[in-house]
Symmetry: C2
């Protein structure tokens, strides 16, 4: 067990001091690469400090790349080859107290550029972070500066709960132009991220409703519904989308779907199923469809089918979209479009809430949309991701991995599915790939299954390849890692002890 | 009843078109100043459109100052003297569709400058909006530009749910320096406004707890608790703060208090009552105190008493503060400090949430705090408000109003209480003052009372004077309005017909 003297931590907070101690031991080799660190609880007990303090230290070590974590396994000292150990110790010291290197600054280790946040990885195929190269820094800065110079009075005025009118008008115009939707600005409600909007919706529709979510799917939505005290149900999918019979059988009131492009399978719900969904909604009082259109802007091909919102005649569709995919994941601006009867209820019941997005960013985005910059940016984004996808597919085709991999659904703008032929179990393959510096998430992780229930047929060893943050220069190396892990046989259980 | 032909609204949305029609009728005198407009429902029914559409139109008319609303009364055409009617009609037309004048741009009507949002008023004594003169535009812009130039990688990295470490470290350092609080950065949770943080707290502590709120007090907190499905109880106050006996009698689990400076009465809870509160909390499992320290930075005098958080030895105090008072109400950044056991629970249960504040503003604020700008700004703010308060008090002293007014609790940074001696009832006085262009809210509005219950003795005709957004050049005129309304006798019921 690690033991450190925490009686005198100097000017450091305990967690910072602990972080420095452990880092020092990893750098000096006292803790070996791949060695498991004690659990947070055990270390806390041993040192007589709070678990949260250990959590803080482990968090820093992970963020800095000295340590990596495996789900349900614990924390491990990272491979020195992948560590930011090339920095002199003095500089590393500064970064711990926030006064030195920024947490996300680029680190060059040999030829490989590791990006902030996923820095310990050669390639993080699970990350949705925006590539720094694609965020329109100069025009965004200029737009914000203009807004701050010209709109000083307006910036200080508390906006209505739904957001500033100029932005809602820009969004309504955008939806008309690009999604063929006819929407009035007062139907558009702006919030700090879709998770926040879900919480407003639950307050609007009530906690007594049962909220259905797609299975497989984006589990965070279900998590929000549950934390907010609402009942949820996992609804199975077929090739055409959500299964209507299960909606009926599980007595769902509100169904959360992504018909334009299901995550993570990539399925597009055909028009026939869309009408069936609308029919389901209109059959029962208080039934609603939440249409999550999170990445429609980034589709690289395939047919565009009308949104549910645009063919809904009975006011049962709540449309949702976000700027976290198109602008960047760290600018928290999302919106929903409420059908009129709900819109009225929203203003009566929830308009006392302050809008959660800063005026500064609302006015900047409104101007960015109104002057055509957003449209130009989307076009640039699309070709950027297309090029990135093509490069990755080329790297796979040119590698021996090609004979062991099948690619699906590559029309999505930021991810596709890849089935790998290997003797390894998913967990062992993921760990082996990770040891080589590539982070990967299996499709099975997006399934909600009852204890012991089998995975849908043919869905094992299928991985969600999120290429949005992978740099071109590391693609060949990353593909090589994927290949080598696939051909190396599992160690027997005795070997791994 | 107003009737307009809405069959052809041109390129306008219906609500915009309706707004233009009514504005035209007000400007032309067809609708007289002070005339009551039809209720939203009645007008919607008459025109065969949705109530929400009428709401949109009325909202624009109110925001633009053509119409004002009286609580529980309805909407009235504004006094032409106070209206932005000096603008040419063509320009006004543009503003309606968001392409022309910004909604908050300054309008000059004679010598009187009316600010955006409260534009229809000579002085809005209910507004908490930040005066444009005091927001540090140039340094904020510069700081943001530096961040956007230097931190591009970090800006793209998804922060932990509690916010970026640099800002949490700045906040911890600030609390140590200015509030004598010893807090670790991992205890600090950043969110888009205190309302959002309340909703996180309810998810953390549970909906089964009963949440107590101060009576009188800031009712929005109770509203959030209720909308989130939690039970609430209104707890009476005495001169020393919240009443402990009522906490026990009403079986409260979590009490929301503002001991540093109660809103709106301005009472400061003495140290003895603070210990009683802590004793109450430690007597029962699962009891917590939410300490709302919303304006401690803006105190203009009086003794600073240690926060509950800093004298809490049993981990029962959740400290809350916000930058909406010190920076501006439209930058949505607030934070809470969790005691360790709760902190641990928070990370286990709720760390899946994305932080609701944009990275851009978090890094800007972190730098603004770290380089000393925040401290300088607070000092500037304090003397700005002190000067403003002194000017208003002088204006009152020099007016005949002085003989009819008593001032309480003027040590608060942005508001004080004023009791007015007048024959008028509160409602009539408020309306008369409003007709003169001054917006005012009585203290009684902050009391929650059972149907028919009397107001606490001596609390009638006492008004909360929020002077933060009142410009010095209008103070004498506004005080004159307050005086004239106080001496004019109520019209008899027959007269007013």
């Amino acid at each position: 067990m690690l033991t450190y003297n925490l009686a005198d931590t100097g000017s450091d907070a305990i967690y910072t001091y602990l972080y420095k101690c452990i880092r020092q031991d990893i750098l000096s080799g006292k803790i070996k690469a791949g060695q498991k660190l004690p659990s947070k609880r055990a270390l806390a007990k041993n040192l007589g400090i709070s678990v949260i303090t250990v959590e803080g230290a482990y968090g820093l070590l992970t963020a800095e790349g000295y340590v990596y974590s495996l789900p349900k396994k614990g924390f491990y000292a990272a491979d020195p080859e992948l560590m930011p150990a090339v920095r002199p110790a003095g500089k590393a010291d500064q970064s711990a107290d926030g006064k030195g290197r920024a947490p996300g600054q680029t680190i060059h280790t040999g030829n490989v550029v590791l990006t902030g946040g996923s820095r310990a990885y050669l390639a993080d195929l699970t990350s949705n972070q925006t590539d720094t190269a694609i965020f329109p820094f100069s025009i965004w800065t200029r737009t914000m500066r203009e807004v701050m110079a010209e709109k000083q009075e307006a910036l200080m005025v508390n906006p209505p709960c739904g957001g500033i009118m100029a932005l809602r008008e820009s969004i309504a115009a955008y939806l008309a132009d690009f999604r063929g939707m006819s929407v009035n600005p007062e139907q558009v409600i702006i919030g700090a991220g879709t998770e926040y909007l879900y919480s407003l919706l639950i307050q609007l529709l009530g906690r007594r409703c049962r909220y259905g979510v797609e299975n497989p799917g984006y589990h965070k939505a279900a998590r929000v519904y549950e934390e907010m005290g609402a009942g949820t149900a996992y609804i199975g999918m077929d090739e055409e989308g959500i299964r209507i019979d299960e909606l009926e059988a599980k007595a769902v009131d509100v169904i959360h779907v992504s018909p334009s492009h299901h995550f993570p399978t990539g399925h597009v719900t055909p028009i026939s199923r869309r009408y069936e969904l609308l029919a389901w909604a209109s059959r029962g009082e208080g039934r609603y469809i939440i249409e999550d259109d999170y990445d429609s802007e980034l589709r690289l091909g395939g047919k565009m089918i009308p949104t549910l919102q645009s063919i809904d005649a009975s006011g049962r569709v709540i449309y949702m979209n976000t700027f976290t995919k198109t602008l960047c994941s760290t600018v928290r601006i999302s919106y929903m479009v409420l059908p009129y009867p709900l819109c009225e209820r929203f203003y009566e019941k929830l308009s006392f809430y302050s809008c959660t997005v800063s005026n500064f960013e609302q006015y900047t985005l409104a101007r960015f949309m109104a002057d055509g910059s957003f449209e130009k940016h989307i076009n640039r984004l699309r070709s950027f991701y297309q090029k990135k996808r093509d490069s990755l597919l080329t790297a796979i085709r040119q590698s021996p991995l090609a004979k062991r991999a099948e690619i699906y659904e590559e029309e999505a703008g930021v991810h596709f599915l890849m089935k790998i032929r290997t003797d390894r179990e998913e967990e062992a393959y993921t760990a082996a790939v990770r040891a080589g510096g590539v982070r990967l998430k299996p499709l099975s992780a997006y399934y909600f299954r009852e204890e012991g229930a089998p995975l849908a047929e043919g869905r094992d060893n299928t991985y969600v390849i999120n290429y949005s943050s992978v740099r071109e220069e590391v693609m060949a190396a990353a593909v090589q890692v994927l290949f080598e892990a696939a051909v190396t046989r599992n160690k027997s259980k005795n070997d791994s002890k």
